[in-house]
Assembly symmetry: C5
Homo-oligomer: 319 residues x 5
């Protein structure tokens, strides 16, 4: 479905009709410094085909744009560049990624979206940059990629917050079972990494050599954001590994504590049982049994011993 | 055993006889833009030798094609290229790989299969691409390699499903011993990796420089699929490592729980034993013993204490 | 806020007024070998804009200098270089980093500080190097970067001291729960690494090729300090990983000890209970019961057995 | 000790005397396409010196050949190449490596062996390749290196078998202590790795550029075998790491089982003890005591409770 | 303090006075092929300054040579090379490193030592190589670096011996707490690594390109020794990691054994307690109590049961 289609003349938008006939018409009307920006959402094979034919796209790239399981990448074709990139969103320990496939030609920018948030904000941002837009579609490409990549850092920040939650839980006083959450975060971090890392190298190359001279600082800026996101992901990854290890250590500490409590408790109860057992024996000649205060004395001894042991364990931290 | 042998003229198949004499004949009949596609299955040394002589293959490559323990690779010989690649299939936590050795000459494509699924589908797919086929055997090579590599991603997806099963088991409520399965998956992942990773670099090189200009986007596509499979394998690997760690943590949690139950249970039973022990002592002067309601009161005290302790442990989660 | 603004003529400082008008004036007055050193602290967008306009800075770099969440980097623009670097300070297991953004032009050095310690010392150090300063702003840049990077090694040394504290605690006789501290140190080390590592490569490049010929040894010196800091960080990282593992082992050792104590204690108490139980049985024909010295003999046997068991356990290290 | 010394003329062997005088004589007699193959075993410094002088070897290389603690390597000297390589054998979880140092000159091949298996097989294999041998000593070098490297894969396969044994033991029903064996295998794998890995890069270089044009496919073949061995070693390494982790998990599982058995057993025995304790109390008014069937009823209750608890534990898998 | 100062003419030593005036004198007297070798120990800033002025050293390098906290490195200055290297010694699980800073000029070699063993042996070794020494100071540099690097392998060998001790302890029959020693060895290995690894790359570069043509094989030899030391360090590192893991597994095995002993012991003692408890009940109608052989029969049953249980546990390895 063609969502938006506009001609930019000297950086100013002139909307056209949203069907493919007008696409051809618009293309034929493009002046020297104009370019066309077409936005498509969840296209059918047919739609994609027709747009691809109009813009002269390479069939493999068109197929890639349809499939929506691309690895993030930047691929040069003879007369256009294909960029596959992923929007990333995060909520409730869950990373969701959506694919945006972009074709950058000399006089057009085509964005193909599969699910996920619209690119309206990116377009608005781009349109706010009238001066750069008058330089052609590369500036529009920058706006789109920048708005997507900027979001990576937000997601990384949210993940970092969740890692901090996990830390608090792991090292908190309460007994918690955090391994499941740590694992889930780890899994999402891996997915995030797969959306971010493959882009680093080709964007870096764009920034250094492929992009037009005056656009390079802009793409270097994006490369920098990607590098920052990637470093954040690496940090999160390391922290989660360590949090899992630390969780294991905490569990061991807890078990040690329980073991000591068990030992202390068993000892305290063993004393009256053993003493009472002794005075429950049926020997005929047990002088203590006939003492008038034998029983209270015995109870007192038991209580005294138990109390003493209890205090000892308490002091040494076993109870 | 020669399984298939066909001349492709302008991209259209003309089957020939399946014996080696007709192979020589077919070779001599090849026109300017024709090429020969020969498929061999589990060849004997002799068969391989004869075909190799007919096509002028390098003796080392012929030997490699026979041995069927090749590392996946792409090797340039003076007048042909040797490609060793592995088909991968997966079922019941078990990766099975089979070797396909391919010779690409200027006017022929020879595929040598050792066990494993037939390449009929790949051939059909290739034959559906008449236009590219008319460009020679490189297109046929692409069809074969593509059909094999495409399957890698399916296998990776199945492995990912199994990893999810393991996760469910590890973090589920039931007590399970998952280390054996995690280990098995890890082992299969390693085997999978050894089939996939060595190919990445040479295919990448094919895509960038070695393949004919107009075939490069196609091989770039394969390189991309390989990269995706490799990233999936890396992810699976990381997840399995973490799952094993998390399993260890789960086991610790379970042991902590058992330890606490043991402690709680021992305490509950220690109370009646200790009290009964006291009233089982044989002191002459134990006033409680002669009370009419001594016994029921004693039972009540025991029951009360046990009940209180039970509730305390229940509340604090130890039982 | 402009904090300092001075013209350096032949390496000698001539302070000017601290407002942006005088900045323009100072710029226009610069002689052949003079340069301007401007220091700004926590600038507003407006201030930054004005200074950027005066010095002809690239808008992207100006934006970066404002944002204060830069990745450490060195970026070449057409007529100036942008350097983003972080001051690092450490106290109480807590790494704090502050950003310093630097613009190096042919005739000016602009430092933009966001929080963190002042750069006065760096400026003083630079002013002490009159001869190099007379060569232009690169020497001033060196002084600033050097004073920041020198501090990295101090911080690394402090971290190493803390790691040693952790080691003492882990392997000490007392039972301590060190996983939380190890984790915190790990986290801070990761943050430290993110401040240091991205700088290595661009500073290395400055040292090898980008800086003026006679300034290169100086930047090589900085590169060396960075390398040393980075190696120290790697070491700390490894040590912390190992300390966590060793802590786990220590916990296991402690649990083994507790387990043995529990076993020994339970055995010692089981003996009197079992023997007393036997003599508490109500059989009519139990000859020992009527022996005159039956009771003391029984007590002696119990004491003897308990003593013997106690000594055995003591000797074998279980108690 | 000179073990073998032969001139190869057109690929055909002509044995000469095995002393160093005849070595000089043989050298002086060498025709255009002949070459000399000398094999030395455990040489003394003197022998090595004399041979080195005859063949014009670099003193450093001669020293290296004597020392027998070389790192596997390929080193170019001005008029010969020095190759240090290790034969690897494996039995009873024990890797043994022996050094073979090889000098390749334009007209000679000198192999110096320190212990380890003879190279007779390699020589036989080489002599079977008359045609290639007529091309000079490089073919002989290939034969020697190939026969050594081929053995690497066999050793890797044996190691893999042992890893499988360990797996069976780790995941088997019996309680085994496998950490010691896993560690030993890990240690041997590391030694194996040190024999194999350093060779990869220089052999790769030989295969790509250094070797004569028509010998390159052969060295590429060796490089390939090395790569396969190296991948096998990596796999084994990973599997052993994981096996150790899995072993830890298995131990935890076993401990959990023991813990549960202890808990179950303690509970079953606690019931009769507690009940018997109650009826062992000496209260005067305990109606049950005077019931005719009090005792059997009590026994029945005890037996019933124990049986019930036993079945409950059995059912939940604790016993 | 200048320790040694000698002119080498045609490789033959001519000692001069050890003060800085004679240094200048000696420098002025140097003939075409002579060179000066100066050795300084623990210099003051002043001494270093004077020597630096005489030899025309770069101020930064002079400062580095004084500081004695250099990272091992090789730095080219315009007319001399600065090499910082560390002597490593090992005793009692303790790595000690000392810095040696070396300046190599066209006609001089200056070695600056900070603590640590003297370089007398290196000098003697160098002087024994008259022929190479006559080629200038590079040969002397080789002798010094070689004598230091050779020692690395000895230290690595000693570390390996200690690792073997740890292994014996970890897998021995005695219960030992090895984590502390493993950690200490790990820490020393890390320090060792920091002394060795940074040198690899620059020495490699010396061996390939920077050193004079005929000196290259010698520096390649050093590079090789470094590579071997580095590989040994890597191996040790891996082994220590695995030893710690294996130690954890051993601790788990021990705990399992203790747990089973506890369970077995508790069961054996529970039997007499439970049976005696039953016959200690006060029911009026307990026929066994009045049997003449009731008591001995009861004891026999208890003894029989305990013996049976004991044998069962013994057989199954729990006791």
């Amino acid at each position: 479905m063609i969502i938006d289609c506009a001609v930019y003349r000297d950086g100013v938008r002139e909307t056209t009709e949203h069907d493919s006939e007008s696409l051809d018409a618009a293309l034929s009307r493009l002046g020297e410094d104009d370019f066309l920006w077409v936005g498509i959402g969840n296209p059918t094979a047919d739609e994609m085909q027709r747009v691809g034919d109009s813009l002269g796209l390479h069939p493999l790239a068109v197929e890639d744009a349809l499939e929506a399981h691309q690895r993030p990448k930047v691929e040069k074709y003879s007369d256009h560049t294909f960029i596959s990139i992923r929007t990333v969103s995060y909520s409730d320990d869950d990373i969701t990624t959506h694919e945006v496939n972009i074709f950058l030609g000399e006089k057009f920018l085509l964005t193909v979206r599969h699910g996920g948030p619209t690119l309206r904000n990116a377009r608005k941002a781009a349109e706010g940059m009238i001066e750069p837009l008058s330089h052609g579609p590369t500036a529009a490409l920058y706006a789109v990629v920048d708005s997507i990549v900027d979001h990576y850092e937000e997601v990384a920040a949210e993940l970092e917050t969740d890692v901090q939650e996990v830390e608090t839980s792991v090292f908190g006083a309460e007994r918690t079972n955090d391994s499941s959450r740590i694992y889930r975060l780890k899994r999402e971090t891996l997915e995030f990494r797969r959306a971010v890392l493959p882009l680093r190298e080709p964007i870096h190359r764009l920034a250094l050599a492929t992009a037009p001279e005056d656009a390079r600082p802009y793409f270097r800026d994006i490369a920098d954001h990607l590098a920052r996101a990637a470093e954040a992901i690496d940090s999160i990854d390391h922290l989660l590994d360590n949090a899992l290890q630390a969780h294991l250590a905490q569990l061991s500490v807890q078990q040690n504590e329980d073991m000591r409590k068990l030992t202390a408790g068993a000892t305290i109860f063993a004393v009256p049982t053993a003493i009472a057992g002794v005075y429950g024996m049926n020997f005929e000649h047990m002088p203590e049994l006939s003492w008038t205060y034998g029983y209270p004395m015995c109870l007192a001894v038991i209580a005294g011993l138990c109390g003493y042991i209890y205090r000892r364990f308490k002091k040494s931290g076993w109870l």
